[in-house]
């Protein structure tokens, strides 16, 4: 069991009305499942109200960094005490 912090940024922070929370979890998969259960449908609804269609779970359409590294780069997903999960919408504008 590890205590980790979850941080939401930008529009996700606005739509979910939360900046940070703490989770006690055994694995990254469990953390993502808990977040999806607590916030997934709310975020999708908020996006849909604004005409934004997203597919999949929150982790599929967000940028998710575990202690500063994108999940897509992670070779092993073991959580350590004090890890931070950063979750934000992908931005590419200029």
């Amino acid at each position: 069991m590890a205590s980790i912090t979850v941080r939401f940024y930008s529009l996700w922070r606005l739509y979910l009305g939360i900046d940070r929370l703490c989770l006690e979890v055994d694995s990254l998969e469990e953390a993502l499942a808990q977040l999806e259960e607590r916030f997934g449908s709310r975020l999708r609804e908020q996006l849909q109200v604004r005409g934004i269609q997203v597919a999949g779970k929150m982790g599929d359409y967000s940028l998710v960094l575990l202690s500063g590294i994108n999940l897509r780069n992670l070779k092993q997903t073991r959580l350590r005490e004090g890890d931070i999960l950063h979750i934000f919408p992908p931005a590419a504008g200029g």
């Binding site: 941080r7 930008s10 529009l11 940028l63 500063g68 994108n70 897509r72 931005a91 504008g93």
Partner: protein
């Protein structure tokens, strides 16, 4: 070549200016710089650098002295910076680099101004709709600071032309609007050994960081470049007028720090600015 006669004339044209901080600065006017440059057949930038080397401040840079001093200003005037994309971010970046006195600005953009750009792209004007952004940006630079050399390329940066377009730059700045091009520019910069100042925006938020060739970079944020969407959430949120200016201004601060060696560039950390929530977060990146 700034010869002895040019130096003599720089010294003759020197005036003393009392700055708001109470200090007296030897200064030289824009008119005097241009007159010496014209008579001697030398670029105004060379006259400005020669003056700064003798602690004589071209008056136009007087308000830069408290932060970067003569030495920093001369470094900027000797430097070349490439801006890839001349839209929302790029337009503000180009305007600020010209005012700050970066000696050579390379502008790369193959797009034209449209009406939907007018809300936020600083260099767009009603009368320039349909004109190439790079060409209009180059004209703006010349209007602001005639000592700056400006090289516009009406081209899309690709793997094939990246070396040709970026090789003269000391720093490359991100004014792009899509992820694949950002990854391409980052890779080119790593190969060329040039720092890349990344920035991007969506809605009231934006983020930026400086990526030196051996630093953590875009893949730490986005993951590997394959299978990435080209555009992000900005497609839906749009970009209000002040968001590109907010991020572009900080990107320019990064350029100034990198070239002058003053301060601490934002390396291996992503700075996320959220104007709507009034939040600024710095995320340390890992490999």
């Amino acid at each position: 070549m700034v010869d002895k006669d040019a130096i003599r004339r720089i010294n003759e044209c020197k005036e003393i200016c009392l700055a708001p901080d109470g200090k007296e600065y030897p200064v030289i006017s824009l008119k005097a710089v241009n007159s010496i440059a014209r008579d001697k057949g030398i670029a105004p930038r060379e006259i400005e650098i020669a003056a700064l080397e003798r602690d004589i401040v071209p008056r136009r840079y007087l308000r830069n002295m408290g932060t970067i001093a003569c030495e920093g200003q001369a470094k900027l005037l000797r430097s070349a910076v490439a801006v890839v994309g001349a839209g929302g971010l790029g337009g503000t970046i180009i305007e600020l680099l010209a005012r700050q006195g970066v000696g050579h600005i390379i502008i790369i953009d193959d797009d034209c101004f449209g009406e939907e750009d007018l809300n936020r792209q600083l260099l767009s004007r009603e009368e320039d709709l349909g004109e190439y952004k790079a060409i209009i940006a180059a004209r703006r630079v010349r209007e602001i600071n005639s000592a700056v050399t400006v090289t516009p390329f009406v081209e899309k940066l690709t793997r094939g032309n990246a070396y040709k377009l970026l090789k003269d730059a000391q720093v490359v700045v991100d004014g792009l609007d899509n992820l694949p091009s950002r990854f391409a520019v980052e890779k080119a910069c790593r190969n060329l050994g040039i720092p890349f100042v990344y920035g991007t925006i969506a809605g009231f938020s934006g983020q930026l960081m400086t990526i030196f060739p051996k630093d953590r970079g875009l893949s730490s944020i986005y993951g590997p470049p394959h299978n990435l969407p080209e555009r992000g959430i900005e497609v839906e949120t749009g970009n209000p007028c002040a968001t590109p200016a907010m991020i572009a201004a900080w990107q320019v601060q990064e350029v100034i720090k990198i070239i002058t060696g003053i301060g601490k560039p934002l390396r291996n950390h992503l700075l996320v600015l959220d104007a709507r929530e009034g939040a600024a977060d710095k995320i340390e990146l890992s490999r």
